[in-house]
């Protein structure tokens, strides 16, 4: 068994872990669902999934003492982390959903609701497959052509301004928002790679092979 592809999917009771686990297993990764903060440091790869509200998500991470454990793993032990959807949002410093809440703060950034002006008549939630514009087809975005489709479902967004990213992808929904990014060992995707067919599987592979 190739230990380098052992991944912890962080289980904090927020949503569709089953789908994430099943996509990672399909790729052949050795996947553990991890609740215990003390076990996290055993993994080189962490995936923080999640659907739901920012506030609730942070509450759950704190209740399980997972917030500090994640920060330690990423900052001090150099683990690679991929945040998906809410999991991506929680990586940054602040979220405004159901009241202002501090995030994990691994990166600066504020997650806020799409405004009417930004949406330009589009409906929220932003649901469905949408194309992303990719800055560089390398790293997390290896083998992913520009304008590839990924599955989104969200009402809150992170804008690219003031998030210092190495590689990023933008999606346009009235306004351009941050669809995915890579900064050193920290990756995030607002869309669901585990729900984005071939494109999503490629990106998940990239997280292990090219980040």
């Amino acid at each position: 068994m190739n230990k380098t592809h052992k991944v912890a999917v962080i289980d904090y009771g927020m949503g569709n872990v089953w789908s994430v686990v099943s996509a990672l297993k399909y790729l052949g990764a050795e996947v553990d669902l991890v609740k215990d903060p003390d076990l996290l440091s055993n993994y080189r790869y962490l995936v923080l999934p999640g659907v739901g509200s920012f506030k609730k998500g942070m509450e759950r991470l704190r209740q399980g003492a997972l917030d500090q454990a994640i920060v330690d793993c990423v900052k001090h032990y150099g683990a690679n982390i991929l945040g998906i959807c809410l999991g991506m949002q929680l990586l940054v410093s602040k979220g405004m959903e159901h009241g202002e809440t501090d995030g994990l703060g691994l990166l600066p950034g504020v997650v806020d609701r799409f405004t009417k002006t930004e949406l330009q008549g589009n409906k929220i939630p932003h649901v469905g497959f949408n194309a992303i514009k990719i800055s560089k087809s390398s790293g997390l975005f290896t083998d992913i052509p520009d304008y590839s489709n990924f599955y989104f479902t969200h009402s809150y967004r992170l804008l690219a301004t003031n998030v210092p990213v190495t590689r990023s992808a933008l999606c346009s929904y009235g306004i351009d928002f941050l669809a995915a990014f890579e900064v050193d060992n920290i990756c995030g995707a607002q869309f669901h790679p585990e729900k984005s067919q071939t494109n999503g599987l490629i990106m998940l592979r990239n997280f292990f092979k090219y980040v």
């Binding site: 099943s22 649901v127 490629i202």
Partner: protein
């Protein structure tokens, strides 16, 4: 398990479904899979949750599932069994606070309100409890109250057209109140790609659904998607072979 298109015809159990429908393959021709438990009795059982998980193995598209969801715990169970969204129907009229709880816990995007509609002498009426009980309020009222909860999407299903293959009940569109901000999925009646095409051409329809057996068996669904793309609809086109090459790539 009953097929939605022939509501009263038993088409087979899980083994039958698994054998006759390759959901993993079908998933490359769709943007989302909706699985509804329409059993006449004993909805929302452990067995159903298990089926959702088993049927959607290797399906990397969003999965909405429901049928008989009455409380937050059932919603959680579905989400733990492979669903990404919870479909609610009767709850909308019986106990919409539970839908609010689901939204609070899992977010607005996690809920789909399925609204079953049937034409009556006094206009279109909403039917709940697996299509058994008619609600007295007009259709507009229920669409609006679902949107205001708010749910993430509305699945508007014509009971009259469901399973006929005669095309959608586009008349229903007139009853979608102005300014509804949640996406609307049209369901019930599609039997060929032209119906899907017609649906996607309507400005107030955000997505089209089909449960027609014709689409699932053989290449109907795949061809329909190709035709829709040819007709200029912006649908993703997936590389099925590449997906199979990615299997176990990390273990080698």
């Amino acid at each position: 398990m009953l097929s939605r298109n022939f509501r009263l015809q038993k088409v087979g159990n899980y083994e039958w479904l698994k054998k006759n429908y390759n959901f993993s393959k079908i998933s490359f021709s769709i943007d989302e899979l909706i699985i509804l438990d329409v059993s006449r009795n004993k909805q929302g059982t452990e067995e159903f949750y298990e089926y959702v998980g088993l049927l959607t193995e290797e399906c990397f598209v969003p999965i909405a599932a429901g049928g008989g969801v009455r409380d937050l715990e059932q919603a959680r169970k579905l989400l733990q069994s492979g669903a990404d969204k919870v479909v609610v129907n009767t709850l909308l009229v019986e106990n919409s606070d539970v839908i609010k709880d689901i939204v609070r816990e899992f977010g607005q995007q996690c809920t789909v309100a399925s609204i079953d509609v049937k034409k009556s002498d006094s206009g279109y009426k909403v039917w709940t409890h697996n299509g058994c009980i008619q609600q007295s309020e007009p259709l507009e009222y229920w669409i609006e109250s679902a949107a205001n909860l708010p749910v993430g999407e509305i699945y508007l299903n014509s009971i009259d057209r469901d399973g006929t293959g005669h095309g959608y009940q586009f008349d229903l569109i007139k009853h979608i109140p102005q300014g509804i901000s949640v996406p609307v999925i049209m369901a019930g009646g599609a039997g060929q790609y032209l119906h899907l095409n017609e649906g996607l051409n309507h400005e107030s329809i955000d997505a089209v659904a089909t449960a027609h057996l014709f689409n699932f068996v053989g290449t109907g669904l795949k061809n329909a998607r190709i035709e829709l793309i040819k007709n200029g609809h912006d649908l993703p086109d997936w590389d099925v072979d590449l997906a199979s090459q990615l299997k176990n790539i990390l273990s080698s």
